[in-house]
Symmetry: C2
Subunit: 138 residues, 2 copies
């Protein structure tokens, strides 16, 4: 559990002004012990339901991208019509449930180390991500 004052400091320390809107979004995203995955659409729905004052869609986009740039959120690579974000910023992998269109974390220690035998001259690896698509049994 974080406190509002913590978010204010966190934002200030990142060079982001702690506005009403950003604090509210912090509350929705980070004031929980569980990390989670969301789309902008999910988030605006949560905000619409939970928050008294409306936050404009442009602000939601701006804020999420600001938080991503500061490393408080990760963008997850799923080819889908919508971009997914993750409040879990550790190096980890994902299951993607094709039916539910939901991501499920697959922690780094739940996958044997991935050994890549090919190299690309002049390039270095920035990240290695596994995406496991799952469907209902039978």
């Amino acid at each position: 559990m974080y406190l509002k004052t913590n978010f204010i400091e966190k934002l200030r320390n990142s060079g982001l002004r702690p506005t009403k809107q950003r604090l509210k979004i912090c509350d929705v995203l980070f004031n929980t012990d569980k990390t989670f995955h969301f789309t902008i659409n999910d988030l605006s729905k949560i905000i619409r339901e939970k928050v008294s004052e409306k936050i404009s869609l442009a602000t939601i986009y701006n804020t999420i991208h600001a938080f991503e740039k500061k490393g408080y959120l990760k963008e997850i690579a799923i080819n889908s019509s919508q971009t997914y974000f993750d409040t879990n910023t550790s190096i980890h992998h994902h299951f993607f449930d094709e039916k539910e269109r939901k991501l499920i974390d697959l922690e780094n220690d739940e996958v044997e180390p991935i050994k890549i035998k090919k190299i690309i001259p002049g390039k270095k690896i920035k990240s290695v991500e596994v995406l496991v698509r799952v469907v209902s049994k039978n």
Copy 2:
């Protein structure tokens, strides 16, 4: 090297009528010894340059989706504004060059077998794909 007649048969055997447009797209996609990755935008550019008669964008989309459904193309999961397709339909992985926005194949035997230690109750694995993001060295 395929011949046009091969494509005609291939399409007929798939229940797709061998139209002028589909044969031309087959020629662009499959009449080569190397497989490759493309976006719809790439493909329409190639067609615009190489093909005498214009093929409408709607037909390009229709055809690519028809080919994908028949298993002649794979859709590649990159979070990007555009969908990537692959004429290499084998089980394999990818490098993604962030600067060039280009995919590079990483064949299955170039990655040590991936062992996933977590299971999702009631779900079975459909595919396991590794995406290695690369950037320029130094």
